[in-house]
Amino acid sequence: MERRDFLKGTAYCGLALAFGGPFTPLRAFAADDLKARRAWEARYRREFLATRGDAQGFAFHCSNCQGNCAWKVYARDGVVTREEQSAAYPSINPNIPDANPRGCNKGIVHSRQMYQADRLLHPMKRAGKRGEGKWERVSWDVALDDIAARVVDNLNSHGLASLMLHCGTGILSQGRRAAPLRLGSLLGAQRLYPASAVGDMFTGASLAYGLATVGHTLDAWFDAKTIILWGINAAVTRIPDAHYLMEARYNGAKIYCITPEYNATAKLSTDWVPVKPGTDSFLAMSLLHVLFRDDFIDRDFVREQTDLTFLVRTDTGDLLRHKDLRDKGKDDVFFCWDEATGSAQPMPGSQGHFKKSLRLGKLQPALEGVWEVKGQDAAMIPVTTVFEHARREALKFPPHQTHATTGVHPTLVERMAKDLAKSDKAIVNIGFSLHKYVSGTMTCWGAALACALTGHAGERGGLDTENNWSLGGIGPLSSPKPARFASGFFSEWMNGDMARSMKRHYSDAHLKDTLGLDNQEIGALTGRYAETSNAWFGKPRALLLFADNMLRRNKSEAHYRQAFVESLDLFVDVNHRMDSTALWADYVLPAKSQYESWDLRGELGYHRFCNLTVPPKGLKPIGETKSEWEICLLLSRAIAKAAKTRGLIAIPDPDFLETKADKAAPVMRDLVNLAEDFTDHGKLMNDEDVVRWLMQNVPAIAPWTPEDAMKHGYVTLNREAGFNSPLYANRPFHSFEHNVYLRQPYKTLSGRQQFYVDHPVFKQLGCATPTAMQPLRPKSFPLAFWTPHTRHGIHSQWRANAQLLRLQRGEPYIWINPGTARQRGLAEGDPVRVFNDVGEFFARAKLMPAVPPGAVVMDHAWEPFQFRERLGLNSVVAGMLSPLELVEGWGHLKFNPNWDGNMIAFESSVEVEKSKETAA
């Protein structure tokens, strides 16, 4: 029915009718009457059956969600009717709650999202200026031929590195993601690390463990006695697993929720810790203070598993190295003071030591003391331990003094520290929001130290950033030839000319005062990174973008967009919907979405199940959408054709060498045979072939087949799935068992949990060992600004979904404390302008007692096209990066998926005022 008729029909409801008075007593119906009477009930039964349809498939939702939940998808006449969680995961242990049903409010509306009017249905070419909104529909052939011609010409004229083929976090599954990765790898294109591009690197964990993602399956929460949720709003961002938290609480756990605003996770906790925004590292140091002060230290654990016994030169602040003591000695062998022999002894297990074990044997490494060691030039070198350094630093931050900075009362700090120390099993979860501050690295590193001091690792819990599984075997599929791996944060920084954005908001004096480096010094560090890092960078001229909303999430969005997009000769966006980035493309290519292609996902370690997507039989294609595999296959054919026409067979790539006939030779980027290479000579023709390949070739998935997966939509990973512990069939997974029980070294320079980094930049900033770093937001504007993850989207996916917008207010709004609002004459629902010297955006005000005064908070990832003037919330966020994350070539701090930097998002200051016009 027409909307106007609908509204007219409800006119009765416009009258405040009052009904009341005498009632008709209940009348019993005779049995026959009753049967006839109830015949109408068939109506709703028919409706239910209709939603069950005539075909059923399985699916998960592979956008940047780390939930990975199994759903049944029902369809009728080739159209999806509804989805419902499979809820068929087995109980792994009768004493641990099972994982069912999983799912969330986003996954459950994909059946609507996939048919919504923002869906891309046909290939389109821009018919006006970029971003003007003028499109012409073209055929796939026309689009692909033109794109291929321009790609080949670009490669020819500007070289292989001028092509960027990036698949963002919109697709994180192993099946669908393989297509763009494989194509890019064959062509030698730039490939951004997606976690870094979105600012989700846990660099504090990388410092400590050499691994960014460590932790547990989330059923491990259940029997923990203390759980510290730090900057993680699990009730909103870990929806499918949040039940384990309340179950843990019912099981007697203490739960501390550390976050500036009271939120859904604080609600279920035993204590909310209302830390002032950006001061978390001070809180971490005050926790460490209590642990050191009251000697809540598991000394045996610390001696064996950490570098706290390592000797540090008190003259230079550097770790004592073998080369200090011997001419031509190694720089990656380190020493302890052995109390058994009263001498400095080399520590086994470090990167340079021949013995690859942490077993101490007869060594009795000291934790405390000062000594002298004879150097290689016979001079005496004064030394002490990392433990002494760490303790001295922590003792600077007593809780009653940090109270003024953090807003956290010392009683809470003392209690948290004690609970952490006294619990047999304790877990400290670090959320993605912490590394949105430059200080996040310190907070996370400090939390890792707190876990180490109290002996929490392996089955005793410990730090949790995010557990991922080791799905080996995928390399030949997704990276058949060497790819140009590019740092996410660094590429975006350079491509977007973000240094200029930073200068607009942060004066040299302010940066020097808070961070310790001014704009120029940071610039020098980025220059050093550019010279020394293995990471590729360099503005591409051609961009093939899959499943990424680059122009939404980059800070100072208009500035970034101008700097980056304007340099592109070709910009192709492969997407299932028109998002804020696709609006600016030269071509949009319509992709299938979840439910429509075969797919597989198992790398996500919150649980042990590998989910399958199999479309319901007979599912009708939507518009002219194609799977990513088919798009890449057709593109590879078109590129081959274009290359052949130009007489270009292959392009040698001397930046990558391989051995051919016993000689080093450049890798050849074969263009004419690109399609054969892409399909592995016909073996991988479509998405189903890829899923079957994965199930046969990934050891952690063995022995399951797709037919096994099609019973309930998933299979269970085997023991091989864990990086540093076995995955036991009947217990939650915990990290570091190989290190703790088998004494295998950690992937760090010291071979241990590392809490001393003597890189010059770390030393210069006073961060050689965990310490506190200040928030960087300038005083030029009075309000802090942060954007926690929303429950109504996974980044920008589903942000424009009508069903979910109806459960909000239909358009973007900021959260503001009623007092802060009142000071500015702002009332509930008022149109507002948020601004600073970087930019502005318009929204509406929502008054929230849960939000602290002195702040504008906003749940994140609204699409810029949902704002007036298309000015999204990142318009007021200045460019910023962490100098610590620019460190390259120190021990385990080398560019790779475990060491890359973040998109700093929460260090800007703003003001807010009532907007002069309505935000329409």
């Binding site: 609908f6 509204l7 007219k8 029909g9 409800t10 009765y12 405040a16 009052a18 009904f19 009341g20 005498p22 008709t24 119906f29 009477r37 109408w40 709703y44 039964r45 239910f48 059956l49 939603t51 509804r82 109980s91 004493n95 049903p101 969330c104 409010n105 459950i108 059946s111 009017a117 923002d118 009730a235 909103v236 929806i239 949040a242 039940h243 019912y250 007697g252 756990a253 929720c257 009271y262 609600k267 279920l268 035993t270 909310w272 109270h403 956290v408 009362h409 424009a800 069903q803 917008l805 109806r806 459960l807 207010r809 239909g810 358009e811 929502k846 007692p849 849960a850 096209f865 949902q866």
Partner: protein, 330 residues
């Protein structure tokens, strides 16, 4: 008559709205039902959905029906917005994506607002659906006797062939959980998913609840959650018992972390005020909260607690007991 009931644990509800959308996609996204949310989740304290429903009358005064007011579409339910996707995304210009009709209210309008003053603000989530009451005001109010309770499970239904859309029931329901369908000219509401229940499949809102907050069993099933939590442990309470309709959906009241004193020290007291919870659940809420905490403390000390085990619910499937007591799993 047997009565199927539901217990919603407000500690486990995380406000994810999956249940809202499970119901929506199962029943109410077509044919005039678009504005209806047979199940929804509102943030409390707040005006709720429909707006100010607690002030809209209905229910019983002894054996007399109290007068009630009909909610309005735009102001109280909220127009289920459609959006200008075409003009915002596929045309020239910078018009933002906006609802075609400005939203004035919605089923989750007040999400996470609550009450109090920072740092002692507080809120929790309250899922609401038809309570399939034992003494339904709606049933009594209908002059055509179009509403009845099923013998086999106590589910209250509005006969869609008998109903003429007078809406006495909409006004009479004190929970304002009946909706008038203007396209059909009839009133409709939550049907407790009887077509699913008859097949041994639990209600969509319950089964699909990601927080595992809902238990479903018959009141006479002594091993089931309804009997255990309501009658034995007395930790599950009706919402607004004073309305007199004897609802069969019960709630485990919410615990909350302590409020802070002026210097930021955590006080010993939960931040949700006792008298607010008494307003919602009646005076028995104090004892219910005390029992919960007492049993949690037993678990902390390493002692056993059958109550906590039931609320933990180790196996998702066991939360839903749709068969007779001696029967098996759904």
């Amino acid at each position: 008559m047997r009565q199927l009931g539901m217990v919603i644990d407000l500690n486990k509800c995380i406000g994810c709205q999956t249940c809202t959308l499970a119901c929506k996609s199962q029943w109410t996204d077509h044919d005039g039902r678009e504005f209806m949310y047979w199940n929804h989740v509102e943030t409390r304290p707040g005006k709720g959905y429909p707006r100010d429903w607690e002030a809209a009358g209905g229910g019983w005064d002894g054996d007399s029906l109290k007068p009630g007011r009909l909610p309005r579409l735009a102001e109280d339910y909220g127009i289920p917005a459609d959006f200008n996707f075409e003009s915002a995304l596929f045309h020239e210009g910078k018009q933002p994506l906006r609802p075609l009709d400005a939203m004035q209210w919605g089923p989750n309008w007040e999400e996470d607002q609550g009450a109090g003053e920072f740092p002692n603000g507080y809120f929790f989530y309250l899922p609401r659906l038809c309570n399939h009451c034992t003494k339904p005001a709606c049933l009594a109010a209908c002059p055509r006797q179009a509403i009845y309770k099923r013998e086999e499970d106590g589910i209250v239904l509005i006969d869609q062939e008998r109903c003429r859309g007078y809406r006495y029931c909409v006004a009479a329901c004190p929970y304002k959980k009946i909706y008038f369908n203007p396209q059909a000219g009839r009133s409709e509401k939550c049907i407790f998913c009887y077509p699913r229940v008859e097949q041994g499949i639990p209600q969509a809102c319950a089964y699909q609840c990601v927080g595992r907050a809902r238990h479903v069993s018959y009141l006479d099933d002594e091993a089931g959650a309804l009997h255990q939590l309501v009658s034995v442990w007395k930790v599950a309470l009706p919402l607004h018992p004073e309305y007199g309709t004897q609802p069969n959906v019960y709630y485990v009241p919410p615990l909350s972390p302590p409020a802070f004193e002026a210097d930021g020290k955590p006080s010993g007291k939960p931040r949700i005020p006792d008298d607010y919870l008494r307003q919602l659940f009646g005076p028995d809420v104090d004892a219910a909260l005390a029992t919960l905490q007492q049993e949690i403390d037993r678990k902390s000390r390493g002692e056993s607690s059958p109550l906590m085990d039931m609320l933990i619910a180790y196996r998702h499937g066991d939360m839903f007991r749709l068969s007779r007591p001696e029967g098996g799993q759904p």
